[in-house]
């Protein structure tokens, strides 16, 4: 009972967070803001997937979440490196 309630609450909060990420992604104003927005969006998506996994009582989402975490971080790192140095691999 409490679990399902908290899941719903979590889902709602994550949805709001994702909407805000999208908003930031849209308005910027800077590309750095957008990279940050994207990174946060990845994190919230991971959370969303895990919560949904608990909700549907399945483990299939977890792996996607795992790889998403790995990829999201590296993607952000790549964007940051580009912003800082332009040259990714030096």
């Amino acid at each position: 009972m409490i679990l399902s309630l908290s899941i719903y609450a979590a889902l709602a909060m994550l949805a709001v967070a994702i909407l805000l990420n999208l908003w930031r992604l849209a308005i910027g104003p800077d590309d750095t803001d957008r990279v940050l927005a994207l990174d946060t969006l990845f994190i919230n998506t991971i959370a969303l997937l895990v919560v949904l996994g608990i909700h549907f009582d399945t483990t299939v989402y977890f792996e996607s979440a795992l790889v998403l975490a790995l990829i999201g971080f590296i993607g952000t790192a790549a964007f940051c490196k580009y912003q800082l140095r332009g040259d990714l691999i030096e």
């Binding site: 990279v35 998506t45 590296i74 940051c80 332009g86 990714l88």
Partner: protein
């Protein structure tokens, strides 16, 4: 399968010389000699059986549906050729070791020679027409590589290209001819074809089949008018010429004539075509040879002429003609190989091959001179040497020919004339080079070559003498079985030196004396030739045609191609729309099928909405490249979520990894692009592109909707049902990839490997200027590798690798597999490149990515071949079921090894490409090898 071993030894052994090349210069030569000796030993072991009259056959199905089988035969004809190919091959190997410059690594050279040798052996041992053709084309390819052994010189490249174009073109004609022949007979097995001579000769398709097959044989054996590639192939190193133009390559054509002799010979067409072309080539080649100042040029035209002689003898279609032809095949191989070697020694010692400069070498190298003179005498047909015997048999045959009726006398006359020419050019080889005054302006002072360089020549010259003096005791047995496999019986013939004062002997005598007389008048002859002989050359015509065709193609391309990417895409999409829309508009098309649409769920709707908006946003910001890249990441994320939502975790994982790698790739490329592009598109073009995009998108939506609302019969059910029992895995996607469609996957990873190699080759030594700051003018940060980022990144590598291994091992039953695992591992490595740089990573990861790709490909292919050992089709999988903790019930299907191959190829490919792009701006990288050697 001892016969297959004779072919496989050199073919597989070709890998050996480059592998041992690092152990010093002699190592590759020894390796090659060892391989060929083994093949020769097997042949000698089988020889008694063949000499006793037994043909040896072996058969194995390859693609029975096409009539292609791995069947081989060792009969007398094949035996004769195998002995020549391997025996002279060994001598050439020894000779080449001393001939090639000391600075050359010999690995590549001997590998190519072995490859060529294997292909040649394949031709003579094949018992299946299609198989023979495969080896036939292999000789064309490998000889191309041999002729262009020094690709830096323009002549070598041109000569190699010409040889390839002519002989491989002839190979295509041969393929068509074989297909016709196979259709007539109903089988491609030589044993069947050889027994169906009557059927073939009376068939309406007889003439086209014969013409096409002869086109193949004549191009290979350099018969007029396809002869001109041979003199141009003289740009090859001399050992290659000695091998290709004596015992092998050019003999493949006459071998084919011999092989198909029982099928085609004896008809009027056969005589006029084969005999006519042979006789003309004989005369033409012998005549031109007199006027070549280049030592090798003389030998080249003499080779053409002797091939014409052999062709003519086969063309006669008589039993004794066939005997003489076979005999001359062997004799010519022996004396011509030694002559080429002698020419090479002279070239080596004097630095030139021009006979106007090389004179009087007798004083400088008496031993070599003696050997060369004996060989040249054999070429001229002087008694007591092997060339005399076969030439006299040839003269005898011309006397007995009865095809031309009242004009019969023409043939012996022409033969004698050719004999006179042959004596004249042989005389020129002897007198001009070794006597005739003193040398003129030689680049080097000649002296005797190293002892071992003369040995191969001496061996061959000894053979000339032995065969010439005691033919019955030396070559008779092998000649007997050779002829037997052509005719089905061994005709009565005499191999004596002295047949009494007969007409053929008289012709020999006339040829000898006439040749000497002609040579003594050479100054006048040269002058007359220069004045009256038409200045046309096949080679020039060929070059002209090639140039014209290339120019035409370039003009055409210049007219239709403006190199605009936008235009390419517009054409591509436009064509697709027309192709896809035509059947829909013309046919009876209903949008909705019989299935009711599933109700819309909230999650999917949200994802799709964001996806659509993000896509439009990407289009909107497309001119700010970085921003577009950020926004398109959102599109990727939404696609991933869609896959997850509709339960396709495999796709989701793949999509994610590919997405990231693409982003990194784009960022790498972005760095080298000039600033963001300005608007430069006309309003009209803008509208055109918009319309195209809208129509294409809408059309795809319509087709997708129509398809998804219908129940179409699908093969998925088959895969779902049989994935576990046949493939031993529950993850259908992965089982399809590594088992059901394993061959496709093997093809795909091969393409990946090729693409990676091509990309590295294209980027190799390309250096691009670097911008000093980002497009807004802000300078780059000073810190190349921020410490925090580096420290954060390092622990992620083992994590990523663990995930990759997990996904790989578990892939057969749950979502995952080699492809995804490779991508994830690559992602982990990329992070290290980002955070710590190329040098840091390279210092710690001492693996060549090329090696990864190569090992992966080999592993995948070997797994597939493994099933052959158990008499199962290629890529059949086998399973084991060990239980491993954490991973659960691990299905150790042989498919796992295949999957590891896929994993390695994907990992290697991704890293090669990214690293190649990452190297572009490194100033010191110019001397870095892409092979990962330094």
């Amino acid at each position: 399968m001892p016969i297959a071993a004779i072919i496989l030894l050199p073919l597989l052994g070709a890998a050996l010389p480059p592998l041992v090349a690092r152990h010093g210069r002699p190592a590759p030569a020894w390796a090659a000699a060892l391989v060929t000796s083994a093949a020769l030993a097997i042949t000698l072991w089988l020889t008694p059986q063949v000499l006793a009259g037994g043909e040896i056959h072996s058969h194995r199905d390859w693609i029975p549906l096409l009539g292609l089988s791995l069947s081989f035969r060792l009969d007398g004809l094949a035996l004769l050729f195998v002995l020549l190919i391997t025996g002279i091959g060994l001598l050439v190997f020894l000779y080449a070791f001393y001939y090639l410059p000391a600075k050359d690594g010999l690995g590549r050279f001997y590998a190519l020679l072995l490859l060529f040798q294997g292909a040649m052996l394949g031709i003579v041992l094949s018992d299946n027409l299609l198989l023979l053709l495969i080896f036939w084309e292999l000789t064309s390819l490998s000889s191309f590589l041999l002729i262009a052994y020094n690709p830096q010189t323009r002549v070598a490249r041109q000569g190699a290209r010409m040889a390839l174009a002519i002989t491989a073109g002839g190979g295509l004609a041969l393929l068509a001819g074989f297909l016709l022949l196979g259709a007539i007979v109903g089988s491609f097995e030589l044993s069947v074809v050889l027994a169906s001579g009557d059927l073939v000769r009376e068939h309406p398709l007889h003439l086209p089949a014969l013409l096409l097959i002869l086109a193949g044989a004549f191009t290979k054996s350099a018969q007029f008018p396809f002869h001109f590639w041979l003199p141009n192939a003289m740009s090859a190193p001399t050992p290659v010429s000695a091998y290709l133009h004596s015992a092998t390559m050019v003999k493949a054509g006459v071998f084919l004539l011999a092989r198909l002799f029982p099928v085609f010979s004896g008809t009027e067409t056969w005589f006029y075509l084969v005999g006519g072309v042979g006789m003309f080539t004989l005369l033409f080649g012998a005549y031109i040879a007199i006027f070549k100042h280049d030592l090798k040029g003389l030998l080249a035209y003499s080779t053409i002429s002797h091939l014409g002689l052999i062709t003519f003898l086969f063309g006669l279609g008589t039993p004794l003609g066939a005997v003489a032809a076979l005999f001359h095949v062997g004799n010519h191989a022996v004396f011509k190989a030694s002559l080429f070697m002698a020419a090479g020694i002279i070239d080596h010692e004097t630095g030139t091959r021009d006979m106007r400069q090389i004179n009087g070498l007798w004083r400088f190298m008496p031993y070599t001179a003696t050997l060369a003179m004996v060989a040249a005498a054999a070429m001229a047909g002087v008694p007591l040497l092997n060339g005399f015997l076969s030439k006299e048999m040839f003269f005898a045959e011309t006397v007995h020919t009865d095809w031309l009726g009242p004009l019969n006398w023409l043939i012996p006359t022409a033969a004698t004339l050719a004999g006179i020419f042959a004596v004249a050019y042989s005389m020129r080889f002897i007198h001009d080079v070794f006597f005739n005054g003193a040398p003129i302006d030689l680049p080097r002072t000649p002296h005797e070559p190293p002892f071992w360089m003369k040995i191969p020549v001496a061996v061959l010259v000894a053979a000339c003498l032995l065969i010439g003096i005691v033919p019955a005791q030396t070559v008779r047995p092998i000649l007997d079985v050779g002829v037997d496999s052509l005719l089905g019986f061994s005709p009565d013939f005499s191999l004596a030196i002295w047949h009494g004062l007969s007409l053929p002997f008289l012709m020999s005598l006339i040829a000898l004396l006439g040749g000497l007389a002609l040579y003594s008048q050479r100054q006048r002859l040269f002058a007359a030739h220069d004045r009256y002989f038409p200045r046309t050359s096949g080679a020039a015509a060929f070059q002209y045609t090639v140039l014209r065709v290339r120019q035409l193609a370039n003009d055409l391309i210049a007219r239709i191609d403006n190199e605009s990417l936008r235009r390419y895409v517009a054409w591509l999409i436009g064509t697709t729309i027309v192709l896809a829309a035509t059947p829909l508009l013309l046919g009876d098309f209903h949008l909705a099928g019989e299935r009711a649409p599933t109700p819309l769920d909230g999650i999917a709707a949200t994802i799709l909405l964001v996806l659509a908006v993000a896509t439009l946003a990407t289009v909107r910001v497309r001119r700010q490249r970085l921003r577009a890249l950020i926004v398109i990441s959102l599109v990727g994320l939404m696609v991933t979520l869609t896959f997850i939502h509709f339960s396709a975790p495999d796709l989701a994982l793949t999509q994610l990894s590919v997405e990231l790698i693409t982003t990194v790739l784009m960022l790498l490329a972005l760095f080298f692009l000039p600033g963001d592009p300005a608007l430069s598109v006309s309003r009209w073009r803008h509208r055109r592109d918009l319309t195209l995009a809208a129509v294409a998108g809408l059309g795809t939506a319509i087709v997708a909707f129509a398809l998804m609302t219908r129940t179409t019969p699908s093969i998925s059910d088959y895969f779902l049902a049989f994935s576990k029992p046949f493939g031993g895995g529950q993850n259908v996607v992965n089982v399809i990839l590594v088992d059901f469609r394993g061959l496709d996957t093997l093809g795909e990873i091969t393409v990946l490997a090729i693409a990676a190699t091509a990309i590295v080759a294209l980027l190799w030594r390309l250096r691009l200027p670097i911008r000093a700051g980002d497009p807004t003018g802000r300078p780059w940060a000073d810190d190349r590798h921020p410490l925090i980022m580096a420290a954060m990144s390092r622990p992620l590598l083992p994590l990523a690798l663990t995930v990759a291994v997990f996904i790989l091992l578990r892939g057969h039953n749950s979502p995952g597999g080699g492809f995804i695992a490779g991508l994830v591992a690559a992602v982990g490595l990329i992070l290290q490149l980002l955070a710590s740089g190329l040098a840091w990573t390279e210092a710690r990861l001492r693996v060549s990515y090329f090696a990864l790709v190569g090992v992966g490909l080999l592993l995948a292919a070997a797994t597939g071949l493994g099933s052959l050992a158990f008499d199962r089709p290629f890529l059949t999988s086998a399973t084991l079921h060990p239980h491993v903790s954490i991973l659960g019930d691990l299905e150790l299907a042989s498919a796992l090894a295949f999957d590891i191959g896929v994993f390695l190829v994907v990992l290697g490919t991704v890293m090669l490409i990214l690293e190649g792009l990452g190297r572009l701006n490194r100033p010191g990288a110019a001397n870095m090898s892409p092979r990962g050697e330094d």
